[in-house]
Subunit: 257 residues, 2 copies
């Protein structure tokens, strides 16, 4: 175990300061960084670009599969990421788009038969299918002032549960992704401790929905988040969730504790 | 909407009695069937084989990616699906393996831009990647007498959430799958109404875990199920869940209500 951590740390040292990645993330390193033995890392729920490619694909940018509802909502929030002052100068707006990649820092200690494969093949669950439009198409925006996150999510045909509708687990996956990312931005490295999801109405496959996440409270190591999933125009409630996240020491996770 | 339902019913009529599918499922049609305008159907959470292939792949059977823990647990339960009497005759045992396919009856009414693609390309979320070992490898067994289900689940490298560990949403997906299938067997067609998941310890990518689902109670339209996820030897608790399912009229789902 100790040897594993040694390898992990060497791997991290090779990454240097990760400043280029932080720049891409366009968010304060203090809000999503975590220290392991003096080396600054980006936290788990905010996926990192591939270390083996100079131009990793940012999955949160529009592609040809995005329908009109997805595009409209994307443009609505994206247009508020940069605003013009009265003097005509551009400055940061209230919202910030979060880039999204399909690879994390992969240093499994607990994997058994897959341990070698994990090193090279592991992919973020929500970004493991590259075919545009087939599975999870989504983009997250964060509003730090209002302590809110929104996610525009278009559910592809590979997410089927009940006939013609999105699997309850795929919905839970997006809820965990959005609330977990939000909790990370608010509290630094966290792990999901509880998800309490009420499913109100099924989501048709192929439709675009909106996830809205807001901070309820912070108590010590605990961050409480609420999340609603609604139709893209907000008229139909699909799910209501409360989520609890616990702040963690990142090295515990790497050690599988 | 009415025209859509007409198309749906015609599609169902072409399926005839679905007796061949019921035979493959090897479970009483009364426990998982549902009637829509006089036509008997298998309910949603128990996936149906492709209608376009005479030999659909049963994903619940062993493949080369299954590790030793997965195989041992599979053989443990599978050996109890058929037992020998004192006279040396074979008869049904306490457990029954549930086959698993990657296609459902697909008649979406609510899909927007993907509606045509859905008709041909939709796949069950948990079976949408054919590469053995890459994502969800699992097999379910049901014990009707004890009103229990177990699922042996090996988590592949494409399910990553926190570095080297399974995404909370992927775990929720398996919990929804197991408890939903169990509720269907107990109560007929249902929809997930609530999942309350407590995450106790992360699951390393590549490991094999056991999901155990048991009936808590039935009250009118409500079926309450509990589910634990543990390490394969039962020594470590990964998650604890209570789940609530509501019995539904299948036609409501098809109409997107």
């Amino acid at each position: 175990m100790a040897r594993s951590l040694g390898r992990i740390c060497k791997g991290f040292q090779r990454l240097g300061s990760l400043s280029s990645i932080q720049t891409q993330l366009r968010q304060p390193s203090t809000s999503v960084s975590v220290s392991v033995r003096g080396t600054t890392l980006i936290r788990t729920m905010v996926a990192l670009p591939s270390l083996f490619s100079s131009k990793p694909r940012d999955f949160s940018l529009p592609n040809s599969s995005w329908g009109s509802e997805m595009m409209q909502l994307y443009e609505h929030y994206n247009s508020q990421c940069e605003v013009e002052t009265e003097g005509g100068e551009k400055q940061e707006g209230p919202w910030r788009r979060l880039p999204s990649y399909n690879r994390l820092l992969k240093y499994a200690t607990g994997g058994v038969y897959l341990s070698k494969i994990i090193q090279s093949k592991a992919r973020l669950f929500t970004r493991n299918i590259r075919d545009p439009g087939a599975a999870f198409e989504y983009v997250l925006f964060v509003n730090s002032e209002e302590q809110k996150c929104v996610c525009v999510f278009q559910a592809g045909h590979l997410l089927e549960g009940p006939p013609g509708h999105v699997h309850g687990g795929a919905i839970a996956t997006m809820i965990d992704t959005v609330t977990g990312t939000h909790a990370t931005i608010l509290s630094g490295p966290v792990m999901t401790a509880n998800l309490n999801i009420n499913y109100r109405s099924p989501i048709p496959l192929g439709s675009t929905v909106l996830l809205e996440s807001s901070l309820d409270k912070k108590e010590g190591r605990k961050t409480f988040i609420s999340c609603k999933v609604t139709s893209s125009d907000g008229s139909k409630l699909h799910t209501e969730t409360t989520a609890l996240f616990l702040s963690i020491n990142f090295s515990h996770l790497l050690l599988g504790e």
